[in-house]
Symmetry: C2
Subunit: 410 residues, 2 copies
């Protein structure tokens, strides 16, 4: 039997999905499982987007241009104009989800062995995408105590070597929910220019900023035109995760030319999704207003409930729809699995993502979990009751000072 590749061996399993078999087993035994593990919102996809699908007139489900249809890219310009991004259709390559925008950006900009700095905890699949391209992730710890703010520039500089080629930020952040301030973005800009790095800006959660906070993209900063690549997706914006429609945006012409070759190899993004994506741009503001109110409410429910539990700490995030919370537990992987396999409260349990998968520093996140507030507040409340009960009886519960250990360096 031929061997599989080293990459195939080393590729990390998704921390969000790896416990799925245990959840499936629990459900097959009749338990109700609250899914807080995955960023799959229950919010309805805009009607206009679904109607565009229902009203298709074409007879041949054909390839589109590899960079996406001109019609969709033009419509996207309308959307980005509202955000004050100064773009032309040529700056956009339509991708199969945000995921493909990330893999194409990595392959286009980094050589095997090159290093990318990412504040951690970070979106777990960056690890997987880096593994695919033989790129080295250099994590830089952010801390729960200051809500996972951007690490100081001097800490970034300590990590920079001649192999450093890029910094990835996810803003608002998955998994922490942190929203970078204008000052943080300006500091990043100076750093990126000083060392001539790429800045990959994952803006999947751009629409989800709370309490009147302002979203700042590197696209809003001048002088970064050759350095910035925005990785975008309709997944969260329109609650259309299964549409697998995203895009890569840059003003760097060399990057666009090379990225297009990777796009050509896989032929085309989905044709139907681009039709739907075009309609989605006309989604009324009222849709987003309602969604924002709903998520703000859910966040409040979740964060309040968590901070009331003994030994639990959770910062109040400014964006996205995730929190990272510290629990009084020995090991979040064990705990999350135990919740699915052993725990039950009124025939219910909760599925969470162990935060270890969002760190690349060994041992970090061992007493943290990521939760997505993608359920209505009634279900969230019930899930939090479940979690509270579980923490009371979990055999690996830590108590007293032991429970207070953090990821802060000594």
């Amino acid at each position: 039997m031929p061997d599989i590749s080293l990459k195939g061996r080393h590729m990390p399993a998704s921390p969000i999905r790896k416990l799925t078999p245990f959840a499936e087993k629990a459900k097959s035994e009749g338990k109700k499982v609250y899914h807080l593990n995955i960023g799959q919102p229950d919010i309805e996809t805009p009607e206009g987007m679904l109607n565009a699908v229902k009203n298709i007139q074409f007879k041949v489900w054909a390839y589109t241009a590899s960079e996406g249809t001109l019609s969709y890219r033009k419509k996207l310009i309308q959307y980005y104009n509202k955000l004050n991004y100064q773009l032309a259709p040529e700056n956009i390559i339509v991708t199969t989800g945000g995921s493909e925008a990330i893999t194409i950006a990595m392959m286009t900009c980094l050589n095997p062995g090159d290093e990318v700095i990412i504040p951690e905890p970070f979106y777990a699949n960056y690890n997987g995408f880096a593994c695919q391209s033989d790129i080295v992730v250099k994590p830089i710890l952010s801390y729960m105590e200051n809500s996972f703010a951007l690490p100081s520039i001097s800490e970034f500089e300590r990590l920079i070597t001649e192999k450093t080629r890029a910094i990835i930020i996810c803003n608002p952040n998955n998994p922490t929910g942190y929203l970078y301030s204008r000052e943080e973005m300006e500091a990043l800009k100076q750093l990126v220019l000083k060392y001539d790095l790429y800045l990959f800006s994952d803006e999947a959660y751009r629409e989800f900023c709370y309490d009147g906070r302002e979203f700042i993209s590197p696209m809003h900063l001048t002088g970064l035109e050759e350095n910035v690549i925005v990785m975008d997706t309709v997944s969260k914006r329109y609650s259309a995760c299964g549409a697998r429609l995203g895009c890569l945006i840059t003003k760097n012409k060399q990057v666009l030319t090379a990225a297009l070759k990777f796009a050509q190899a896989r032929l085309s993004p989905g044709m139907l999704e681009q039709i739907a994506g075009e309609a989605a741009v006309d989604t009324p503001d009222s849709y987003f207003d309602a969604v924002s109110i709903e998520y703000t409410h859910r966040r409040d429910v979740l964060v309040n409930a968590l901070n009331k539990m003994e030994g639990v700490f959770c910062p109040n995030p400014g964006g996205a729809f995730y929190v990272v919370a510290r629990l009084p537990i020995d090991n979040s992987d064990k705990f999350c699995q135990w919740m699915l396999e052993e725990f039950i409260h009124e025939n219910e349990t909760v599925m969470m993502a162990p935060a270890t998968g969002f760190y690349s520093t060994a041992g970090a996140g061992i007493n943290e979990v990521r939760m997505a507030y993608v359920l209505n507040s009634h279900d969230l409340n019930k899930a939090m009751i479940c979690l509270d009960k579980a923490l009371q009886v979990y055999p690996g519960r830590l108590t007293g000072t032991e429970a207070l250990h953090t990821t802060l360096p000594v």
Copy 2:
């Protein structure tokens, strides 16, 4: 400005799409361009598949399981059962087009620097996918004189080194249309087992076999369970190229486990496509019968017209919907571009794919083009009249013995 990657520089542009700007320009000047360059059929997508799209009931366009929905994979089993493949849903990972099945298979099975042997001319994007994964393509020439049959096993053996990990076949073949016989498949089996290699079987054109010829997949051969990975797609089968729905099939459990991790990193294939794909399995046989009659007719029109032209030779292919033809020209890249930029006959011209992009041996295919018979026979006839006229006036036309040089080794 930061540099792009070496991969970004070396990545080949698609030979099928690289002349697109010239075609666009010709069309903008009012010329009619017959597109024989790309495998985008004009055949209508089955109604049942499109109706499944129009009749969607869901409210949230959600992620599916990374390996695809169980429902779609079960339905696919029904399809593969008819082909006498012995499969279970666990043997299938649903992918974003056949393209993703190929990239996942390569990443799962081959290390950077490993070698894959591919009979050439071959599907041009194998070069691109290999470049993405830093895999080395070792081409093995097949010859127009014997219709591009499988090269002899001893020639394969001459190429095998300790780095050789896999063989890729595309059957029926893109670009040559050649359909491998049972004897050829058995010979490949012995080779694969002798050297413990992977056999990647790209079966995108499985439904397109003509003149009563039999399609033999490695899935029909016993003893290859751990070696075979089938890469499939609905693109050509249901004329649904823009659906970007394919799958990777194998019985090798290690491969499945590793491939799933790559699938998890990109989260999910398209949800709507899987609903449509499920409906597509119920497409009546009459659809395929009609398509087969149509393609057989088109092939005959094309091959007859080509072989009637002075200095032109084109084998009669047994499957797929492509031909590779030898033309009396100095350089197919120049000729194809000239056709779009300079030539005009009754305000019409033809776009073809230079065959050079389908070879990885330098200089091979320089007087060959690939044509896809994806237009109706009326348009095909007009395209052939155009080509004939063009060959008469092309400044780089070769004559006499000069025109007869082939890709055969001296």
